[in-house]
Symmetry: C2
Subunit: 348 residues, 2 copies
DNA sequence: CTACATAATTGGAACGTTCCAAATATGTCA
DNA sequence: TGACATATTTGGAACGTTCCAATTATGTAG
């Protein structure tokens, strides 16, 4: 009874047809007679048949493996968790399944997981590359005609599609907002200068400063690790300057939180004595004190779009690289001081 | 040149050996001569060979597929994201890869993804079951000798391994702490009564009350949805009672946050006018205002343990169901009022 | 009844690997 | 040298599916 697994041949025998017919039923072919189809389906239920995709993939192109790989650089960051959820949504409803791996920013780990995914015959890959990733790392994939969509961080020179948020537009809007609040010495804090994301956000900052007639001053940008600790460090250096800034747009929310910590350590209250704007709108941004004014990039919808693009390329067979930048929006909370005039809540 | 994929046969031809030998090299067999091995490896690098696991799994038992499935009920909840990271860590270093899916608490979705994973021949499954999951849902898996580890929520009557946190110990400790602070009317707020987790946490609460000599009073437990909104609702009903409680242990952190909201709506300050304790220690717990006193269950280590257990069972071939409960610890912050005597921070 | 189109079904040959039993090479001992 | 053990290699035959060309059944027009 429980000897070995149930195969199409067992089904064929039970339904009194040939294995070819069973295969046709499996693929929903219109060629098979309605009566036969239901007989076969009945037999499958009866025997508890489970489809063996591995065997099927042996014959078919790997585009039919129905596996899509997702590689993120930091799953503990809720931004990426949300992204993965977005991907999963559309991928799942298209009958695909998601292979998800976390590289923890390690390039070696990334190589390993991508290799492993290839062995399993993924039909496509969505990747938020680890820090030092180079275009060459994805070369073998595209050579094998496996569609790849890079998200969040763009990969200079790679012939693959990418979806990034409008980093430039975001920081530009942040500067504009701070300027409208009367700030003139606005700093740009945090982030590693050797990344594409940094360049874009910095460009938006610079553009915003010029547009506001404040000019771009090199000394107002102080880089650091894109983390909470990095933020503490950056604000420290900023406050050591002769002509101190009164506001800052930060590389991301983590840095912004660190900046707030650093301000308090200097007995300054973020939102009252100094304006802080973050980037990402992570989940803690709204519950933190003061609530963080930040640039919101809906990671879930980003994931959804990435998945849609990837599926389109998988179905098309050939993948024309395509670049999408998704809109961001400034969400004004308390840390920029704009809410100050509103009823003085006891606790801010 | 680029015609078709590179197979063992191509490698064999290039290295001047038979495909069988190549296969042995692939499997790291000690039977093959060192010289031959390196010749073969060289050929593989040369031709850009990629192993086809699908084909291999056709011959081997599914235990060698090197895929382990992970199904969680809510990936947007950082608790589960952390859990998945923990799983990924050990799974990855054992040379496996993780199939991760999110059910969003939908039992149908869960059925789909589990079925899909089976088709792909997973060697094992780690699942945090969606709400209405029954033991029968996992029956086919165990019948097929696929090891299953249930995490977070236990599944009554299923013959599978499980890892849950010490819910009972956690709430019991929470009550003890509140009692030591002088509270006598301590409520248990939130959660759906028809779940195993609720029962366990309630039992801990009841035990703690009795142990503290306060007795268990039915009217002090008010259930609700295990969400922020549910918390608002629950505290509302609790405050409508004649003999009001002065403290509450909540079903989870989300409920606790809702309770705080509800208290403020009644012009009461959590931590000062009413003591609140949560459960889970989600990431926001420490940044919220007031910082939430809660029961911490390290999800990442839980994920690691689940993966270890699963791998053990996969390697053992046969899986003896095993039940583990992981320790929890009370982390005292501000919402319980214990920190009151400490220097009055401006902002709490 | 023949000729032909259409609908439905089918047997075998792939796909890329592993496993087995058997073959070959190499060394050792009497 | 022959006999035997040991180390290494090898040709098929699986595994469970899909694809193709070929077959059979059914209907319809001449």
């Amino acid at each position: 009874m429980t000897k070995g697994r149930v195969t199409v041949i067992d089904i064929a025998k039970a339904a009194g047809v040939s294995k070819s017919t069973v295969s046709l039923v499996l693929q929903g072919s219109p060629l098979v007679n309605e009566g036969t189809r239901s007989k076969v389906n009945a037999a499958m239920r009866e025997l508890g048949y489970v489809y063996n995709r591995g065997a099927a993939n042996l014959r078919q192109a790997s585009a039919k493996s129905k596996i899509i790989g997702v590689v993120v650089n930091d799953l503990t960051n809720s931004f990426f968790a949300e992204l993965a959820v977005g991907v999963d949504m559309v991928v799942q409803s298209a009958g695909f399944v998601q292979f998800l791996s976390n590289t923890s920013e390690s390039i070696d780990r990334q190589r390993e997981v991508v290799a492993s995914m290839r062995e399993h015959g993924i039909s496509g890959l969505i990747v938020s590359p680890a820090r030092a990733t180079e275009a060459a790392d994805l070369k073998p994939l595209v050579a094998a005609d496996i569609p790849v969509v890079v998200v969040v961080r763009s990969l200079p020179g790679a012939k693959v599609s990418s979806i990034v948020s409008d980093n430039q537009g975001g920081t530009s809007a942040a500067v504009e907002h701070l300027a409208s609040l009367g700030h003139t010495r606005i700093a740009f804090l945090g982030g590693f200068p050797d990344t594409a994301v940094f360049e874009e956000r910095l460009a938006g900052y610079a553009g915003g400063m010029k547009a506001a007639g404040l000019g771009f001053h090199e000394e107002l940008v102080v880089s650091s690790a894109p983390s909470r600790a990095g933020g503490v460090d950056a604000i420290g250096r900023a406050m050591a300057m002769a002509d101190r800034p009164t506001a800052a747009v930060c590389f991301n929310d983590a840095v912004a939180f660190g900046v707030c910590d650093g301000l308090r350590a200097r007995h300054m209250e973020p939102g009252r004595d100094f304006a802080v704007v973050g980037f990402d709108d992570v989940i803690e941004a709204q519950t933190a004190v003061p609530a963080l004014t930040t640039i919101s990039v809906d990671p879930q919808s980003m994931g959804r779009r990435a998945a849609q693009l990837l599926l389109k390329q998988i179905n098309a067979g050939k993948a024309e690289p395509e670049s999408i930048t998704t809109a961001v929006r400034l969400v004004v909370r308390e840390s920029c001081g704009a809410a100050q005039k509103k009823a003085g809540r006891k606790m801010a």
